[in-house]
């Protein structure tokens, strides 16, 4: 229940059940230390949120996990194998959904791209695409182009495309940061519904502390310059969560206070 310090919380051994693990990972880009000695792990079906002031390397952390960037020192392991390149069952959802979608393909076509990449049989694609679009509530928009969809719908589409990869790990980089408050809450609940039924571990980067507490099993707080894991908050709130009940729970408010205090301290 109590916040645990980084030193205690990060046993750098490979726990058998860990899906994705970092061991003493540091990253230096063009002479600048971005991340230092990060150790953490993500277990199957776990929902971990990452918070921290801007510039503390949250996004870089995700890019390391996705295999888009390789660490300067330390190890990133996925299913106990060292990550050297992107894996087809690790999906990454970008914040700038409008840039991440192919504007010349319809909604169905964008989902198809992921299926083409993993080489799924042509005959099965149509059914899988409509199932995925159904799942994110875009069944009516299969033939629409991204430019014809609202921001919330475009982000749903990107989520559908990532789910097409049948991911074991879903990495999300401030996915709802550019959406209005109402849409954000709806998508938060949809994300929880989708991930509750699957086997997917989620690593969710956000700058919204309440969002992190509402969604996560654990919240990882980073300290900037260079980015380090400062604290890990365990969130023992019952699931399924509810926008009103959960956010009014005493435990939620207590964690919210602790997290805000922490960010206040490190933000300066």
């Amino acid at each position: 229940m109590h916040p645990v310090t980084a030193a205690q919380a990060a046993p750098p051994t490979t726990v058998e059940s860990a899906l994705l693990s970092f061991r003493d990972v540091s990253l230096t880009l063009s002479g600048r230390r971005i991340l230092e000695d990060i150790s953490l792990e993500l277990r199957p079906r776990e929902f971990v949120c990452v918070v921290g002031s801007s510039g503390c390397g949250k996004t870089t952390l995700l890019r390391l996990m996705a295999g888009l960037v390789l660490p300067t020192s330390g190890e990133v392991r996925y299913r106990n194998q060292i990550v050297r390149q992107p894996a087809s069952d690790i999906a990454l959802i970008f914040q700038d959904y409008s840039k991440a979608l192919l504007p010349w393909r319809t909604a169905a076509g964008n989902v198809a791209l992921a299926l083409e990449a993993i080489g799924s049989p042509k005959a099965e694609r149509a059914a899988r695409i409509s199932e995925l679009l159904q799942k994110v509530g875009l069944a009516q928009h299969a033939a629409h182009y991204p430019s014809q969809l609202s921001g919330g719908m475009q982000q749903r589409l990107q989520i559908a495309r990532c789910l097409a990869q049948d991911p074991t790990v879903l990495l999300m980089d401030e996915p709802f940061g550019a959406l209005d408050a109402m849409t954000r809450q709806v998508l938060q609940d949809e994300l929880l519904r989708i991930t509750a039924s699957g086997n997917t571990g989620v690593l969710f980067v956000t700058h919204d502390l309440e969002e992190a507490l509402y969604l996560g099993d654990r919240v990882l707080a980073l300290r900037p310059n260079p980015g380090r894991v400062a604290e890990i908050f365990d969130v023992h709130l019952p699931r399924p969560r509810d926008q009103l009940v959960t956010r009014e729970a005493g435990e939620f408010l207590r964690l919210r206070r602790a997290l805000f205090d922490f960010i206040q301290e490190t933000g300066h």
Partner: protein, 260 residues
């Protein structure tokens, strides 16, 4: 609104016609508009126009496809492989400044007179704009899309065919359109300079046989051809790419000439 654009050209033609009739010009270098139109009609009626137009367009489009296509392929290769890009930087920078006309004697020696000479010259000229704009098109691709292709696990071939080419296509088409204008210019120039076929050659023989009305009629047809090719490609560009392609029209349109 369109008729206003015609006021000056038609007015000038009528003025020229008026002057020619009033002063009774007899000249080896000038012709009245009515004589020119008469000659133009003659070329159209006896089919001479289609023969020379066919020769010029065949050479221009043949060269455009070969040179423009090679330029785009080269742009893709250079855009995707930093190593090849480094190796070829010097040769490209060395060859590019050579005016396509300066290479004519070499091509004449290799190919002799005829289509091959003309198509080779047009190809050489079209290769460069297509390469340069093609490179800009490829470096202008949204980097996020390339990351998406990596995260999804697309192979190199899938990346080129499903991401790079479709993303660069609107700008590659602009490259094609500008290269088409170059193709026509170079084809006619090669015909004027030495190749005995097509509109450029007929233009020169009309001039040397002191038939200014035929010369001006051919010039008129060359202008109409250039205008039509550009207008057709602009239309295709708008149809194919809508506003995405249209954005670049204003930027480069002046080079090839805008339709009214």
């Amino acid at each position: 609104m369109k008729w206003q654009g015609l006021v000056l050209p038609v007015g000038a033609a009528m003025l020229a016609e008026g002057c020619a009739r009033a002063f009774g010009i007899q000249s080896d270098s000038l012709a009245s508009p009515s004589q020119i139109l008469g000659a133009a009609w003659g070329l159209l009626r006896d089919g001479a126009l289609f023969a020379m137009l066919g020769q010029t367009l065949l050479a221009a489009f043949g060269g455009l496809l070969i040179g423009g296509g090679a330029g785009v392929v080269m742009a893709l290769v250079l855009g995707l492989s930093p190593t090849i890009s480094k190796l070829l930087r010097l040769p490209i920078e060395g060859l590019r400044p050579i005016p396509s006309i300066a290479i004519l004697p070499v091509f004449l020696m290799v190919f002799g007179f005829g289509y091959r000479l003309e198509i080779a010259s047009v190809s050489f000229a079209c290769f460069w704009p297509s390469l340069i704009i093609g490179q800009a098109a490829i470096s202008g691709i949204e980097p996020r899309l390339l990351e998406v292709s990596r995260v999804l696990g697309l192979g190199p071939w899938g990346r080129v065919t499903k991401i790079v080419i479709p993303a660069a296509l609107p700008r590659l088409f602009v490259a094609f359109r500008l290269a088409a204008a170059v193709a026509l210019i170079v084809a006619v120039t090669v015909e004027i300079a030495l190749n005995p076929q097509g509109m450029g050659y007929e233009l020169m023989s009309a001039q040397s046989s002191l038939r200014p009305e035929v010369m001006f009629a051919i010039l008129l047809y060359i202008g109409i051809t250039g205008w039509s090719v550009n207008a057709a490609l602009l239309l295709a560009q708008r149809r194919l790419f809508g506003r995405a392609g249209g954005m670049h029209v204003g930027m480069h349109g002046g080079v090839a000439g805008e339709p009214p």
